[in-house]
Symmetry: C2
Subunit: 383 residues, 2 copies
Amino acid sequence: MALHFPPEEFAARRNRLNRALAAEGLDGLLMFSQESMYWLTGYDTFGFCFFQCLYVGVDGTTALLTRSADLRQARHTSNIEDIRVWTDAAGATPAVQLRDMLDSLGARGKRLGIEYESHGLVASNGRAVDAAMDGFCTLQDASAVVTRLRAVKSPAEIACVRKAAELADAAWDAALATIGPGADEGAVLAAMQGAIFAGGGDYPANEFIIGSGADALLCRYKTGRRRLDPIDQITLEWAGVYRHYHAALMRTVCVGKASPRHRFIHAAVVEALEAVEEAIAPGRTAGEVFDVHARVLDAYGLAPHRLAACGYSLGAKFTPSWMDWPMFYTGNPWVLEPDMVMFAHMIVMDTDTGTAMCLGRTSLVTATGSEPLSTASLDLIVK
Amino acid sequence: MALHFPPEEFAARRNRLNRALAAEGLDGLLMFSQESMYWLTGYDTFGFCFFQCLYVGVDGTTALLTRSADLRQARHTSNIEDIRVWTDAAGATPAVQLRDMLDSLGARGKRLGIEYESHGLVASNGRAVDAAMDGFCTLQDASAVVTRLRAVKSPAEIACVRKAAELADAAWDAALATIGPGADEGAVLAAMQGAIFAGGGDYPANEFIIGSGADALLCRYKTGRRRLDPIDQITLEWAGVYRHYHAALMRTVCVGKASPRHRFIHAAVVEALEAVEEAIAPGRTAGEVFDVHARVLDAYGLAPHRLAACGYSLGAKFTPSWMDWPMFYTGNPWVLEPDMVMFAHMIVMDTDTGTAMCLGRTSLVTATGSEPLSTASLDLIVK
């Protein structure tokens, strides 16, 4: 068993969860999010791609239902003692097996929370669970319960985030050593991801974003690499990842030379990022932070070229995405607290001139404000 | 726009889909699977982590509803012309916007298929869609329609798979150059993934499996790297990936020396893999293939140490997993056809003696049998 946090830490998390469930009037929680399971028990797998559920009762019960391929995985990575297996076969009905497991654990007739908003529970399985539990227990959407608890990090978690931030800076150094006219995007990716693996880090929960030329205006990964032109631009968004905790960074690098438009937008995104980081402070809402970003960029005339969100929380996330809640979008009432970890990205994609200029980094919310976790310069870089 | 297949290929896929939908009595399909969207239109993103739907009507309609961050992504990577955006905001209701989009496209009162079994449609969004469509149109689970079409590859897709298989072999060479007493698992991972990126390949849809010592008995990725002992074992499962098409391999490497138990099990998994590959042929069912695997391993007394599945289809998959349908498990009636791509893994994890020994590779189903796509030896390797 390789737990990455001490038993007292897991016990404290369990206590927080029990209090939160009790406050919702729930007798237990059907966990489907791998993020929740990892946070509560250490259980670490991508087996959530199939049906899998961790039942947590406020009475202290903890029991996992998973597939045979994950039996040893749960034993080696988590503190879960009661692990049950459903078997692949034509006509397998794991949701019914889940109900039978809950029955054996005394959950009949109880009021249980369920994580419907989870990549561990696709809609077809959600429907199967609803059908299996009909008349057996009462289900109540509790998708946000663990997400809210996870958003505020413990000192041990913050140590992981700081290590992740170091790996992110190391990946940036590796990228800068590779980028230049004629460089192959694939080599850039190999250098960045290699620095993170060699440093003991993990895969990211989503692919690094890499795009150059016209595709520097994209902010998602896609297949297909190219070589940089003598005069070019390349946008990168990546995260150092340690114990699955993410610390993200984002940059657009000019190759050969920077255009006046690059320089103009760069000035705007630096001002926006600095204003946003000023706004990332306890007591401010995620919606206010977004509005600061929009106000600065719109004053530069960049309203048509920015996105409708400018960042989000980071933590121990699994695929398909490292984006965690809360997100910085207008009107989001989620109030920031100390020990939250927030990634702010100023993304400007000007289709009219074909210019990309992005700048982002991760900050830790402190008692009074926030602290950027990267030591990398915000200056415009021309390689 | 960077489409990776010619227009005629996409047109042929659309024709196959329209015929399949008509055969099911459907007027259209609400696509939520990124795999389906990529196959039909080239659209390439991990934006399916949020609400996103591609509507495809048998009348020729194609329209995407996605977030602002994916607007350009859809324009640059797909042939979709009608792209609409829902905006993040407190109280955003994208499922209602989807209904409004469908209404504008004349889908009111129609019978539409929907991909409920999709990592692009989590249970909470599935419930929102059901509620929004109630009384507007009739929904019918059609999760398997595109999956079945995707399972049989075109010549252009097989070319991608062959390139992926070359990248998988290159990653294996890189691993073998790194593995030995004292080697760091992180360096092995960096070498393998680096070979694939440098060769123009993509991220895998799930993390590579890497585990040594006691964790060589795991068949999932987990955080936490270690150095190999003078006498050790390391299990690797990885895929070369090109244009998102996967070709997987699996090996356990002995470090320092191989135990008699390693050699005994190795003989069993070679015999099992060869028997399985003999069984991978048109007209055979996925269930029969599993049973061949079980029969061979059980004759070696390894029944307690094998899994309940021994492989699956591979193709252009997105996170959280590269495992595609059909899977080799007992009783699976899916009949194999030419031009399917099947990964067979013989996984033996002997907890009693702490011995892991795994062997797997990917084969192309041919007109008369199957062809392994890797040139790597099946011999036991001691480094």
